[in-house]
């Protein structure tokens, strides 16, 4: 059996689903971020697979941009989570409820 584009799309969909489950079930902000990284990488697999089977390179360039953005986003998110941790020594997403109503 040869590996075709649908195998890659299936892998990406599974990875995306795992990411979504992680995001929904994790209460720790860092855990949520890890789920988001899985979702982003599912998109990357899609891009690289499309590039591989259509012959163009632009999707691979898109994927490289996504990797860079993901790193920047993670850096900012971790800095913000750290700042919150200093205020309340706790990074539980559910317990961040000073702002509500």
């Amino acid at each position: 059996m040869s590996i075709g584009p649908y195998h890659y799309l299936g892998l990406a969909a599974a990875l995306f689903a795992i990411g979504v489950i992680g995001v929904v079930t994790r209460r720790n902000a860092i855990g949520v971020l890890i789920g988001v990284e899985l979702m982003l990488n599912a998109a990357n697999i899609n891009l690289v697979a499309f590039s591989r089977f259509s012959g163009g390179l632009d999707a691979q360039i898109f994927a490289i941009f996504v990797i860079v953005i993901a790193a920047a986003e993670a850096a900012v998110a971790l800095a913000i989570i750290l700042q919150l941790f200093e205020k309340r020594s706790d990074v539980d997403v559910d317990r961040a409820r000073t702002l509500r109503g």
Partner: protein
């Protein structure tokens, strides 16, 4: 040699069409370097000077930049829509910077300006993006700078919580959007969004117009819309909005409410014009957009009714307005796009005005609850009158600019309902108008505490309202009144700027 000849004219042309963005990008390293060399005493002053100078210069350049829509690259489009939302983003940046410098941001102004300029550049490029990769890059530039701005009051636990909520939910929404984008790319075989007139290359618009699209493509479009709905605070991705606006500095909340939302709407107009260009899913997508719009405005208006915090109230009002604007997108035609651009320009003045005045009250009293406005109609008549004008305009009543704005939006809905014999759009229009009545309920609460309070409840003590504050407020409020009566010119302008989107 050949390469040099073919590239140099291209680059110079890019700089004429994107001069405003170029100035803002250049200003960022200049501010950082100036901060190093200025020394601790003059640091804040130098940052403010360069930052504000760059924003004002960019605004002037954006005014005179051509909007002929000639494409130099497939990635960006310098058309009327890009020009309209670029002007909105830069103007919002200027006003947010003035508001922040009036006392909210006293420390680390260099960092503030770097983040603000980054966010403005992101918003400008988002409005001009014509390629999914460029779009993702621009939206993330706007978002990441926005996350930092929301958490800028480092000594404040609320600000940290607001930034955390914004970044976590923002990261989730953008990951969903990106996954949708890759699927759209896979279906269309290209990441270019639209093919402008006179060009021949393939784009999502040209593919969607010719090929029959599978339901899976619809899912991909909805995934992209989920990420964009987060940016404009539309249901079901609106829950972050009140928390973030309450915790963020007021001027940053104003920036998110206008520039960030405006950029989101520019993309939504572009993207939906591409995916509804003649395919068989157009009606389904119109229905999806209309239902999201109605749910958004109803949630926003009903939740605002029980708010006592002025910033949260304005946040729910911003959610409701995302709903009104989406109604104009849902009809997916030229007249709808014109109505959206018109309303966005009016929304700029009235929302920034309201946020600026909430910021003034917050500075003077340290409070954001509605009781802090008690008796302002007598203590500061000018201030109260300006706030009243902005709030009446947000409700959409004449003689303010909100009235023609809402009129044009809902006119399109009923026109569409008549053309398509669509009862969904007819009842959608009716629900939208009823929402206007609900919104009267909470905007008038401000008027009630300002004007109809007991004389003995009025706090003594003076309310300072002068100098820069008075100038800014008058500058933002006067257009709301003038455009409410003489709106024909702005309507024609909106028509020119929105040309060629659908």
């Amino acid at each position: 040699m050949l390469l040099a000849q073919s590239w140099i004219p291209d680059l110079s042309a890019i700089f004429t069409q994107f001069a405003a963005e170029a100035v803002l990008c250049l200003a960022i390293p200049v501010i950082i370097l100036a901060d190093v060399f200025a020394g601790p005493a003059r640091r804040e002053k130098v940052a403010g000077l360069i930052g504000m100078g760059a924003l004002v210069l960019a605004f002037v350049l954006a005014l005179i930049q051509p909007a002929d829509g000639v494409m130099l690259t497939k990635l960006l489009r310098a058309d009327g829509l890009a020009k309209a939302f670029r002007l909105i983003a830069i103007a919002t940046g200027v006003i947010a910077a003035v508001g922040a410098m009036r006392g909210e941001i006293t420390k680390a102004r260099t960092e503030f300006y770097v983040c603000l300029l980054g966010a403005v550049v992101g918003a400008c490029l988002t409005a001009a993006a014509n390629d999914l990769a460029m779009l993702y890059l621009a939206i993330e530039t706007l978002s990441i700078a926005g996350y930092l701005l929301a958490g800028f009051r480092k000594d404040n636990a609320k600000s940290a919580e607001a930034a955390m909520k914004y970044v976590i939910f923002g990261a989730i929404a953008s990951a969903i959007m990106l996954y949708g984008m890759t699927l759209v790319y896979g279906f269309a075989g290209t990441s270019t969004i639209a093919t402008p007139e006179g060009m021949t290359y393939a784009s999502i618009a040209s593919e969607a117009a010719t090929a029959a699209m599978s339901p899976a493509f619809l899912i991909a479009v909805v995934l992209v819309f989920a990420g964009l709905a987060y940016k404009i605070a539309a249901a079901p991705f609106q829950f972050w909005c009140p928390d973030v606006y309450e915790g963020a500095p007021t001027s940053v909340a104003a920036f998110l409410a206008v520039a960030s939302k405006g950029a989101g709407f520019a993309v939504i107009l572009r993207f939906f014009s591409a995916v509804t260009s003649g395919g068989d899913m157009t009606e389904t997508l119109q229905a999806v957009l209309l239902i999201v719009a109605l749910v958004t405005m109803t949630i926003g208006n009903l939740a605002a009714l029980r708010q006592n915090n002025a910033k949260r109230l304005l946040a729910y009002s911003a959610i409701a307005h995302a709903g009104y604007l989406l109604v104009g997108v849902a009809v997916t035609n030229q007249a709808g796009a014109t109505a959206v651009v018109f309303y966005m320009m009016v929304y700029l003045f009235m929302t920034l005005g309201a946020f600026y005045m909430v910021g003034i009250v917050e500075r003077q009293t340290g409070r954001t609850d509605i009781d802090a406005y008690t008796g302002l109609g007598f203590r500061a008549p000018m201030f109260a009158a300006c706030l009243a004008i902005c709030l009446i305009s947000l409700t959409g009543l004449p003689p303010t600019a909100g009235f023609p704005g809402k009129f044009f939006l809902f006119q399109q809905v009923f026109a569409h309902a008549g053309e398509q014999q669509s009862s969904l759009f007819f009842w959608g229009g009716v629900i939208g108008l009823l929402n206007g009545v609900i919104s009267l309920g909470y905007y008038t609460r401000f008027l009630k505490v300002m004007y109809l309070c007991d004389r003995d409840q009025i706090p003594t003590g003076s309310f300072a309202f002068g100098g820069i504050d008075r100038g800014m407020v008058l500058m933002l409020t006067a257009p709301v009144l003038v455009l409410g009566i003489a709106f024909q010119g702005l309507r024609e302008l909106a028509d020119t700027l929105a040309k060629g989107i659908f």
